[in-house]
């Protein structure tokens, strides 16, 4: 047993007490593993298949499903690289939400301030990295489920291009918008984990190959305004302004962003309801109440609306194609507010009548509709809690985004404070 694995396992009770842990997993003997991640402890999200265990997705409705016969592709890759899996993390039930509060595992509390939420749906994974228990953890991102908790907890979150990383063995929420990604304590670690996960999977028909971008190429940066400045808390705006200045970014607008956000929201609601329609009929009493009611109502969304929402995506994509003619990378805030209080899940976004539960994806959902790669880099704020900035590139531009994130951490004090010193 390596010291790192022993130290992480010793903190499992703390992870459970704070609502971060779904289930502990018996680790392999770290002395038997080799590879680039050899001996590093890590957590998976409770949404990834782990051989011999049921994929519960933080829902009693799935708890009686049969155990997985094999690891999901991402879990197998990380184990194959020597990473030592020690547990799965709490999340929003079925990955549908932004608060990581479940009837099975409780509320995931923010390690930066336990009276606050850590966001979701991959909230437990962000928290165990932010708390320093493990250096990295797996997550998924459909509407912002990696980016939102990464920003609220102050860690690096990586959502690669749609289809880049295999989804084999991952419980589906919204088939057309689900992404696999992860959290990391440092940018170097993020790059290391990305290199392990970025591999061809013959079992994933949705996986796509991309030409590599040039990380050394000049990078002209645009700051998305308009929709991406609506309802933003002053401490977040201040931090985003400082980071954008470090990039020398010019403020621009993508006029379809508000409609694209609503379209993404509609697609995810409709697809999630259809994904779980049979379980809603046969195991209705086992769903978390809030999720059950929202999914049931979303069954009323007509198929024609999904098509209309996809058409918005096509138009929005053309808008971004034009922006990428002028800019190599776009940046935007990740979240409109700092981590909200944990005890008030129905609270409104400050200064609005938008429920926080729905509002935390305000700035991530438009980008989800496009499937573009995003790295969210944590930023320190004057309010003491972290926030994040989304670095957004054209499809397949992950290498360029990693390089840009490194420049930001080197050249911007509040990024270095939040991400450069762990």
């Amino acid at each position: 047993m390596t010291d790192k694995v022993e130290a992480a396992i010793a903190r499992l009770p703390e992870a459970a007490a704070n609502g971060w842990l779904a289930r502990a997993i018996e680790p392999v003997n770290p002395g038997t593993v080799t590879g680039p991640l050899a001996g590093l402890p890590w957590f998976s999200k409770d949404l990834f298949a782990v051989r011999g265990m049921t994929t519960v997705a933080a829902s009693k409705a799935l708890a009686d499903d049969p155990p997985a016969e094999r690891d999901s592709f991402a879990v197998a890759r990380l184990r194959g690289a020597g990473g030592v899996l020690i547990g799965s993390t709490n999340m929003d039930s079925l990955a549908y939400g932004f608060v990581s509060r479940t009837e099975l595992y409780g509320t995931a509390r923010n390690p930066r301030d336990p009276s606050r939420l850590c966001g979701g749906s991959s909230g437990g994974s962000a928290a165990v990295v932010a708390a320093g228990i493990v250096p990295f953890a797996l997550g998924t991102d459909t509407s912002g489920s990696i980016r939102v908790p990464a920003a609220l907890c102050g860690v690096i979150g990586v959502k690669p291009s749609l289809g880049r990383l295999s989804k084999s063995g991952v419980q589906t929420l919204s088939p057309s918008l689900d992404h696999v990604g992860f959290f990391a304590d440092t940018l170097d670690r993020a790059r290391q984990v990305y290199d392990v996960l970025d591999a061809a999977d013959p079992d994933d028909a949705d996986q796509r190959q991309f030409a590599e971008s040039d990380p050394a190429a000049p990078c002209k940066v645009g700051l998305l305004g308009g929709h991406f400045s609506n309802a933003m808390e002053p401490a977040v705006a201040e931090a985003i302004g400082e980071a954008a200045r470090a990039f020398g970014a010019e403020t621009i607008e993508a006029p379809l962003s508000t409609r694209a956000r609503a379209a993404a929201y509609t697609i995810v609601a409709a697809e999630a309801a259809r994904t779980h329609a049979e379980r809603l009929r046969t195991r209705r009493h086992l769903f978390d109440t809030a999720i059950r009611d929202r999914l049931t109502a979303a069954l009323l969304i007509p198929d024609a609306w999904i098509e209309e929402a996809r058409a918005v995506g096509t138009a929005y994509s053309a808008e971004f194609d034009a922006l990428f003619e002028r800019f190599d990378m776009l940046v935007a805030p990740t979240v409109p507010c700092l981590a909200p209080p944990a005890e008030d899940a129905l609270a409104m976004l400050p200064g609005t009548n938008i429920p926080l539960r729905a509002a935390l994806g305000l700035y991530t959902q438009p980008i989800s509709l496009l499937g573009l790669p995003v790295i969210t880099v944590p930023l320190a704020t004057s309010a003491g809690l972290p926030t994040g900035i989304q670095l957004i590139g054209p499809m397949g531009s992950e290498a360029r985004l990693f390089a840009a994130a490194a420049r930001l951490i080197e050249g911007c004090r509040i990024a270095a404070d939040a991400a450069g010193t762990r």
Partner: protein, 55 residues
Amino acid sequence: MDMPLPDTAEALRARLTEQGVALPLEDAEAVWRDWQVILTFRDAMRADEAAAPRP
């Protein structure tokens, strides 16, 4: 385009009741609050339809 979604939390509750799902009004109102984003999408589609040239 067919847009059969209800216009109020009470109407949403009634539609779900028709489908065999009985929600307390308070729960229907909670869903309704989450639905405001979806309703903006519906309203935008309605506006597009209204603005489209008529044959």
